[in-house]
């Protein structure tokens, strides 16, 4: 069988590598929306390219899941576009309560998701967000990103969307 000549162009080589990883990700059942976004973002940010190559080189499933969650996090961060701050002063004294309020919000959101979808696997299918990313989202104390909340809101009936620091300040009674 004739082997196709390899390109000498580094950019073309990188793109071919990305297509190979994309093909394998598709075979592994990762959402198409995620794979497309990963390939697009990796062409713009070499760190994402690195993560995709790490995924290809990794044989341990748990580590692969972490890499997928990392890629999704970065895709969401890169898609946020214009720089902004919320103009809200966050004091160190507020952070413990903010962290608790974020946890409480995510726990309630997870309950609503499970009421409607049953499982995170179903939510993953509805939103196109990989399952490892959803697991990380619900288990972390990070402030939710708008991109993630909008995808979840499109997929299930949720009571509220909270993405601003102001939403999480104050006591959660």
């Amino acid at each position: 069988m004739q082997t196709a000549p390899k390109t000498d162009n580094p950019e073309s080589r990188r793109l071919m590598n990305l297509y190979r990883v994309a093909y394998e990700m598709d075979r592994q059942g990762l959402p198409e929306e995620f794979i497309v976004a990963a390939v697009e973002t990796a062409q713009d940010y070499l760190g994402v390219y690195d993560l995709m190559m790490m995924w290809r080189e990794e044989s341990e499933e748990g580590e692969r899941d972490e890499i997928v969650a990392d890629i999704q996090d970065v895709i969401d961060a890169c898609s946020e576009g214009e720089p902004h701050g919320e103009g809200v002063t966050i004091r160190l004294d507020d952070l413990d309560q903010i962290g608790q309020n974020i946890r409480a919000f995510k726990n309630e959101l997870l309950r609503q998701v499970e009421d409607e979808c049953g499982t995170l696997t179903e939510l993953s299918e509805r939103t196109g967000i990989p399952l490892p990313s959803l697991s990380r989202f619900f288990n972390s104390s990070s402030k939710p990103r708008l991109a993630t909340m909008l995808k979840i809101k499109e997929a299930v009936e949720v009571d509220e969307v909270k993405v601003a620091w102001e939403d999480f300040k104050g006591r959660n009674d």
Binding site: G47, E58, E63, G85, S141
Partner: protein
Amino acid sequence: MDIVITREALNSYLNLLHGHHISRSTYETFLRPDILLLHDYPDPVEFDRSRFWSPAKGRRGRIQNGFKMKWHNIGPGRVQLRLPVAVIDDTAYLSEAYVKDSRKKELRELARFDVHIERIRRGNYTEEGRL
């Protein structure tokens, strides 16, 4: 040098607290005083100690503008804590701190850091405050 707290840094602080890797006291007693040294970077002798401060190296080698501040056996979790810092145009941008518990984990975190630095260069980042 100015010290910018990015969204990634703030979120990582919340996650480290939630995971009981560090406490408020750890931050106030150990982390914050060290981070404040960045105001006078590179003069303080601490920056000459590779156990405290070193260039960040990812999968493809040195990450431009990227450094790591390091603490060893710190906090209630006695963890290896790393704080990636981007130094760009006389400003230090604190990025996403992490517990280094394996080389694989570190390579993933540094790949994320690489992306974060590029976003900062492009002005696509969120400032949550300054120290």
